[in-house]
């Protein structure tokens, strides 16, 4: 009996070792670039899953892209023209693009893709409403719109990746179509497999890519359900880099990663940020003096140290960060409790009962209804302390995102913490307007400004492509933000992307970070 149990143990141990060796001895002849992410894929749908769409930047590129300076440049589009009244857009498609099944990319593919999004897409339905006519003339695609659109290039830089007509026209509802792959693509790579169980997407080199040849044969993007495991994977050398849409590598994990000696950091300013928004039509924050007092009460240097561990800077009053095209310098936000108290006092707010909190017009202590998304709980607690020091009370309600959306849409708050994304910052009239324009509701936007001055400014920006006018409007907009404070940025942050220092050629743009064609055609080992 004892001999049998010992024999069982030996057999089990040998079996286990055999398994461990077998799975580690996979022939790794292909050159594979490995990326860790926490943006998980929920369904194998190229056009229907949010994060798959983001990762498809390298296989099914958009018509335009953003360069590292934040300027919109062509990607599938070589050049384009816009009619003087901004209703006819003509795109000239690059002639050297080929799908991974050898067929050339044509104007038909572009026309099909755009109209498909207009018909079936969730976020692209507005295209179906806006486009009245589509013409294809060789590699030229001409879209006629039902009204002036001045920023189609911007819209086509953030989403609407191009798909091959000859493949997708056979599918009933493309946006709901699911398949593990392969998906035909025209980028330097095509999406070979979406393996939900293994937790990775595999991209393989497009054999018909005519641009700069990528060094790597394969790109594996592996998603983790928690950042700790992703960080550990990086530190152990299992991954070459880390990517998270609109976010940085966890700041707290940077030191540990750098201590391995195997990584370097690509640190770039981003237009994604956390900000404090106001319910502009509700007393007392409808009073500009209250907003100015709050702006002075916030300890920005401390937030830069605590929230982003020094990877960023104190923001300016004009809200828009330096990385954005159209940025103009406005005064930097200044932390001063004394100034905050003085503003309140000068505006007539007094602390009659000496309890440290000033009273409002109704004679009661001002206790602000502070709605916070649960991911910003720590910042909310800090801001509560800052406000209290300045004489303003607050009561925090920290809720999960969906509850936040509902409460925020019902204006059930005085102040709230929200975040911007790089894509969101360039939407609508750009420069963060989509977060404040009261005509755009839902999602992560506050729609808290209905001032005709602001709304007219947005409309003016949307009505022109004249660069000199746009420069003037950008200045006016940021001055408006500085004077009226519909939102106060807590910090301007840098997104940190760590990369294996044995690999060079990384390129980052403000919207999608390292997820762009320049990276995937440019990265290669350091010789």
């Amino acid at each position: 009996m004892v001999k049998l149990s010992r024999l069982s143990m030996v057999v089990f141990t040998l079996l286990f070792l055999f398994i461990a060796v077998t799975v580690n001895c996979s022939a790794a002849e292909d050159k594979v670039l490995k990326i860790a992410t926490v943006n998980d894929i929920k369904s194998p749908s190229l056009l229907g899953d949010y994060n798959t769409i983001i990762f498809s930047q390298i296989s099914n590129p958009t018509l335009f892209q953003m360069n590292s300076n934040g300027k919109i440049i062509g990607q599938v589009v070589d050049s384009f023209e816009v009619s003087p009244d901004n209703t006819v857009w003509t795109f000239n498609i690059r002639p050297e693009l080929y799908w991974s099944d050898r067929k050339p990319v044509t104007g038909e593919d572009i026309a099909y893709s755009i109209n498909m999004y207009g018909k079936y897409g969730k976020s692209g339905r507005w295209l179906g409403e806006a486009i009245t006519d589509t013409k294809v003339d060789g590699n030229k695609v001409i879209l006629t719109l039902n009204k002036p659109y001045t920023n189609l290039d911007r819209e086509f830089a953030t989403m609407y990746g191009i798909v091959p007509k000859h493949v997708w026209e056979k599918i009933d509802n493309p946006v709901n179509f699911t398949s593990e792959g392969p998906y035909v693509g025209c980028g330097p790579f095509y999406m070979d497999k979406i393996d939900l169980t293994a937790g990775k997407i595999i991209f393989k080199k497009n054999p018909y890519w005519k641009g700069d040849a990528p060094y790597y044969d394969q790109v594996d993007i592996s998603w983790f359900k928690n950042k700790d495991a992703a960080s550990e994977a990086l530190e152990s050398g299992a991954m070459d880099t880390y990517y998270e849409y609109s976010s940085s590598y966890p700041y707290a994990a940077i030191d540990s990663l750098m201590s391995t000696g195997n990584f370097e950091l690509l640190e770039k300013p981003t237009s994604g940020m956390t900000f404090l928004g106001f319910n502009m039509n509700k007393t007392p924050v409808s009073d500009i003096n209250i907003r100015k007092a709050i702006a002075s009460a916030i300890n920005y240097p401390e937030l830069v140290d605590i929230s982003i561990l020094g990877h960023g800077s104190v923001p300016n009053e004009g809200f828009v960060p330096t990385i954005m095209d159209g940025y103009v310098k406005t005064p930097q936000l200044k932390y001063s409790v004394d100034d905050a108290k003085k503003i309140l006092a000068d505006a007539g707010y007094k602390d009659s009962d000496n309890n440290g909190i000033v009273e409002g017009d109704d004679g009661k202590d001002i206790v602000l209804n502070f709605l916070s998304r649960s991911s910003f709980s720590r910042e909310a607690e800090l801001i509560q302390e800052y406000l209290k020091a300045a004489g303003l009370g607050s009561e925090i309600r920290s809720v999960e995102d969906n509850t936040w959306y509902e409460l925020k849409d019902n204006y059930d708050y005085d102040i709230t913490l929200d975040r911007t994304t790089p894509a969101g910052m360039i939407m609508h009239a750009s420069l963060g307007t989509c977060y404040f324009d009261s005509r755009r509701t839902g999602g992560g936007v506050l729609h808290n400004v209905d001032d005709p001055v602001f709304l007219n400014l947005c409309d003016e920006i949307l009505a022109t492509r004249d660069q000199s006018k746009l420069t003037t409007y950008a200045q006016e907009l940021q001055n408006y933000y500085a004077e009226n404070l519909p939102g106060i940025a807590l910090y301007w942050k840098n997104d940190v992307t760590p990369y294996n220092k044995a690999i060079k050629g990384w390129y980052s743009n403000p919207i999608y970070g390292i997820l762009n064609q320049y990276t995937f055609t440019g990265v290669k080992p350091v010789v």
Partner: protein, 323 residues
């Protein structure tokens, strides 16, 4: 005969009770996701994407969310009869297919852990309860106390850090690297080990306590007085009687099997039912929530029914209507 009739009558009464419970569950799993705050349509796109009111209305209509609740409920019941659990617009597929894609992995992960934890916990618990004064019994009991006091996700993180990160013995994530049996076993070893330890330690402590209680009764002492060896008394008499509380727990574990092990799935980045339900809650994916809750509820009801049946079959005291 009378005993058989009583048993049959008991089974029928229980079945009726569970059927009623089942219907109440149907209503609850239908209503709860729909009463949660948040808009499932908004969650179809990223938060930086703007949807026009017309688009929102069109999507709501496609998803059947513009119908009155009573109509939605009738559609829901009719669909259930044809085993149609609905369609998930967030995951782009029929809910039944989505669940069938996750359930086998959850079964593999948690089912294996429950079985292994049950076997080890029962056997070790019986031995430690029968010999509580021995040094190895004390060591096992102390270890079990320690492990059962640690939340599984902390245990999981510790194991991940130690065995995967520092010792590089196991992979850091996923159910497999390549879809073959060796890769699956390799990837699941650590999470199964963590869960097994969790279940085993809990089962050990309960079994141990139960055996100690039985040990103090007269019949083992009587058996000992008759000269029956201690190990035989434990195996044939005491363990059987002590097994009931643990059996109940194990049956309930199986009932909740399909709710997954969310924290373990997060720590080890596994695609199971736990993370499916968690994501569905965050996205307000009503069809997936309804389907998942229904599956879990059905299995919990079946598990409870099984526990009742097992109790009646193996414990004559329950059969005779006494404690």
């Amino acid at each position: 005969m009378p005993e058989q009739t009583a048993l049959l009558s008991w089974i029928i009464r229980k079945a009726i009770r569970y059927l009623i419970s089942g219907f109440i569950v149907l209503v609850i799993v239908f209503l709860v996701p729909r009463l949660m705050p948040g808009d499932p349509v908004r969650n179809l796109v990223g938060e930086d994407v703007w949807l026009s009111p017309a688009t929102l209305q069109a999507l709501r209509s496609e998803m059947g969310l513009d119908l009155p609740l009573n109509e939605q409920f009738i559609h829901y019941l009719l669909d259930l009869f044809s085993l149609n659990l609905g369609y998930s617009y967030h995951l782009n597929g029929p809910v039944l297919n989505i669940l069938l894609g996750r359930i086998p992995w959850t079964l593999l992960l948690i089912g294996t852990s429950i079985l292994a934890g049950a076997c080890f916990g029962v056997i070790a618990g019986a031995l430690t309860g029968w010999n509580p004064e021995r040094w190895w019994a004390r060591t096992l009991t102390g270890s079990s106390l320690l492990i059962s006091s640690i939340p599984p996700y902390i245990l999981g993180l510790a194991f991940l850090a130690c065995f995967s990160f520092y010792l590089h013995l196991f992979p850091i994530k996923g159910l497999y690297d390549t879809p073959d049996i060796f890769s699956i076993i390799y990837h699941l070893t650590l999470p199964v080990l963590v869960l097994t330890l969790f279940y085993a330690s809990r089962n050990l402590l309960i079994m141990r306590g139960s055996v100690i209680s039985e040990r103090g009764l007269l019949y083992p002492q009587c058996a000992r007085a008759l000269g029956i060896p201690r190990q035989i008394i434990l195996k044939r008499h005491v363990a059987k009687n002590a097994l009931l509380p643990v059996l109940t727990l194990i049956a309930l574990d199986f009932g909740f099997l399909f709710s997954g092990a969310l924290f373990i799935e997060i720590v080890f980045s596994l695609q199971g039912m736990g993370s499916l339900i968690y994501d569905a809650i965050l996205l307000r994916d009503i069809p997936v929530l309804t389907g998942s809750f229904l599956v879990i509820s059905v299995f919990v009801i079946l598990a409870n029914l099984s526990v009742d049946l097992i109790s009646v079959l193996i414990d004559p005291r329950v059969r005779m209507g006494r404690e």
